[in-house]
Symmetry: C2
Subunit: 435 residues, 2 copies
Amino acid sequence: MSSHTVNASIITIGDELLIGQTIDTNSAFIAQELNKIGIWVHRRLAVGDVYEDIRKALDEEGKQSGIIIITGGLGPTADDITKPLLCDYFGGKMVINEQVLAHIKYLFEKVYNRTGPMLESNLKQAEVPDTCEVLHNARGTAPGMWFKKQNTQTTLPSMGIEGSSVYISLPGVPHEMKGLMTDQVIPRLLKAFSLPAIVHRTAFTAGQGESLLAEILKPFETSLPRQIKLAYLPNYGMVKLRLTARGNNREELEKEATPYFEQLQLLVKDYLVSDEDEGLETVIGKLLKEKGLTMGTAESCTGGYIAHLITSIPGSSAYYKGSIISYANEIKTGILGVQPSTLASVGAVSEETVTEMVKGAIETLQVDIAVATSGIMGPDGGTPEKPVGTVWIAAGNKDKTATLQLKLRFDRQRNIDLAAVNALNFLRKFILANS
Amino acid sequence: MSSHTVNASIITIGDELLIGQTIDTNSAFIAQELNKIGIWVHRRLAVGDVYEDIRKALDEEGKQSGIIIITGGLGPTADDITKPLLCDYFGGKMVINEQVLAHIKYLFEKVYNRTGPMLESNLKQAEVPDTCEVLHNARGTAPGMWFKKQNTQTTLPSMGIEGSSVYISLPGVPHEMKGLMTDQVIPRLLKAFSLPAIVHRTAFTAGQGESLLAEILKPFETSLPRQIKLAYLPNYGMVKLRLTARGNNREELEKEATPYFEQLQLLVKDYLVSDEDEGLETVIGKLLKEKGLTMGTAESCTGGYIAHLITSIPGSSAYYKGSIISYANEIKTGILGVQPSTLASVGAVSEETVTEMVKGAIETLQVDIAVATSGIMGPDGGTPEKPVGTVWIAAGNKDKTATLQLKLRFDRQRNIDLAAVNALNFLRKFILANS
C-alpha cells in the first residue's frame, strides 16, 4: 500500500443494530463510497445508545483511523444521546444554527405540508455544537456534522493530516445519509486528504461455486503482483471476482490491471455473466435492448420476485411488458392456457407445465421471450417424489422452449432467491443462444 | 440490569464487509437469537482479512465481553486466514477431525452428487485446532468451533464464568451460520451461562412517523419503570414500538410488562397494525384466512414486489391466487380490461386507471379482494403534473373500491418499497372496513 493510504472507521450507533431489528445497510454504502476514492475502511463498529460505549468507540477508533464516520443517534426521539455527547466530546456548546432552522421550517411547511406549530423535538434538530462544521442535509431535518480532533496518542503515517482525525456525524436514515455522503462528505474528503489511486475491475459469474472457481484461479492468484489483489464475493448462486489495484497513479494502475483482468475473464469464461459490477437483471436488460426484444414472465413459485428484480432496473419498461403470477392452478389454466390434463397427469411442478406456461405467457403478454417457474418453496407442500426445493424453469420464444430442473435445499426465502437467480441466468443463456 | 447480565460481542471477518460489497445480515440474526435468551450484544465489530486486525479485535472484545461470536473467514479460498489464526491465538495445533471429514465426504458424495476426488481446499476444512470443541455444521463443510480463554485482564461481573470468555467461530454463509446458531450455539450457551429473564412485546404501527409517535408517547415513556424500556424501530413507513423488560423471573416480568403494553397499544391505536412482531403481509394473510377470502394483485409501478411480499409467507397459496403485472399499457387494457379511453384521457397513473385495474383483477383472477398500483418510480418518466413519486393505489371487492394517492420523494428502490408497504396497509384497512 502507498504511504498516502488513509484508514477509516465507521461507527454506527443505535440499540436497534444490537438487538438485530435493523440490518445495517448504511455501512456498506459508506464503505463503497470511501473505497471508490481510495480510502480503506479497516474497521466497522456498532454500539448501542449507551453513553460510555459511544465515548469509548470514539476514543478507540480515533487512535486507529484518520477518518471516523458516525451514523445514527441523531433522530428526534428520547433515546438519541449522540449529539450532546459529541458536543461534550469535542468541547464547545450547543447553539441554534439559523440555516438548519430555516431548512427545517421549509421542509415542514413546503415539503411535508404540515400546518400548526412544529414539534419541540424537531426544533431541537437545529441545535448543533459550535465546534463543528454543519453539513447541509437536503433530504431531512437532522444536519450532518464535521469535527476535527488533534490526536496526541499516535502518529501513524496512515492517520489524517498532521496526526489529527476527522469525525463526521451523519443521520442514520439511509436516504438522508446517502445524500450527505455524496453531496457533502466525499467532496470535502477529496479536498482534505491526499488520497491514493485505486482501480477495481469486477467479473461477474453465475453457475459455479466459490471453491471450484478458487481452484481454477489458484495459479493466477499466485501470479498477481503485490499491489493487485483478487477477492471472491459470493452472493446467492453468483460469485463476483474482483481485482483491486492500488498505487499512486490511476492511469498506470489501469494499464497494469487490464491484462490481468483479461486473463481472469478468460479463465472463467464458461461462467462469466458480465465484466462489470452489475446484476443479471441489468445484463438481461442490456441484451434485450441490444436485440430489440420484449419479455414477460409467468411465475408460480417465485411469486413475482423475478418481475421485481427486472423492474428494479430504471428504464425496464422499454423491454419488460409484464407477468402473470399464477399461484393458483385456475390462473395457470384460465389465463396462461396450461392444459388441465397436464396438471392432472404430471402436476403443476413439472417440465410440461412450465413449458406450457412459457408458451401461454408469450401469447397472452404478446412478448418475444418469456421465462416461467413452478416449484415447491417450503416449508410445507413437499412429497417423496417432489420434495421441497424441487423447481422447474422454462425459457422460450415463439419457436423453442428450454427447461431446467433445480433441487434446492434451503429455507423458503433462500429457495425463492435462488430459483429467481437461476431462472434469470437460464433466460440470459437462452437469449444468447437463440436470438 | 440484573447482575446475571452477560455481554456479547460479534466480530465479523472479511474484506467484503469493509469494501461494502456484502451487507451484513448475519449480525442481525445472531443479535436476535442472543437477545431472546437474555444476552445483550453491546458491540459489533467488522474487520478485514488482515491478521493483525483480527488479533486485535479478539483481544479487545475479550476484555469487554463474556461471549464473542466470530463469523466469516472460514471458507475454502486463499484469502481466509481465520482458522490458522485462531489455532495460534488459543494455542494447540491443527488436526484432522474425523467426524468433520466424514461429513464433508458425505456432503460431496450424497448431497452435492460430485464424482471424482474432492478438492484439497475442501479436505482442509476438516482440519481444526485441537484446543476447540467442534460444532457440527449440518448444512455445510466448514465446522463451527467453540474456544474458552481465561481472561486475566478484567474481572467485570458481566463477563463469563470465572472471568473467562467463550469464543465461538462460525462460517459466514448465512444459511450455515443460522443452522449452527440454532442447533448448537444457543443450547450450549443456555447450559454454560446463568442468564437473566427477558421479555419483549412489540406493537407494529403504520401510517405515522417516528417523531409524532414519540411526541404521543413521551409521558408514557417517562412513566416506565427502570427495568422496562421502549424502543422505536422505524422501517419503510412502519414503526415498531418495542417494550423490553429485564429481570430475574420471566413470569413476574410478563405480569409486569402486560399493563404497560396494553397502555402502549391504546395510545397508538389509530396506527396499530399488530400486537406481534410481524409484517403487514402476515397480518393480511391472517385476516384473509379468518374471513375465508381470496385475494389477487394488479401491479404496475410496484412490478411484482407486492406479490413477492405476500408470497414470502409460508402457506400464502391458501388465500393468494395471483397477479397481473401490467407494466405495459396493452396488458392493462388487454388482460385487466382497463378502457383505452381512460388511458387516453387521464393516463395510466390515475385514480380511474387503478380503479379499473382492481375491477379487472377481481374478475380475471376470480378473487374476492384485489389491490392495484400505478405510478412513476423514477428516476425518469416524471412530468410537471405527475412528478416522479406520484402513485395511485386502489383496493376493492366486488361492490366497492377505495383509492389513495401517494407523493413519494425518494429513489426508485425506496419508492417501490414505500408504494408496496402503503398499498398493503391500505388493503389491510379496506379488508377491516369492508368485510
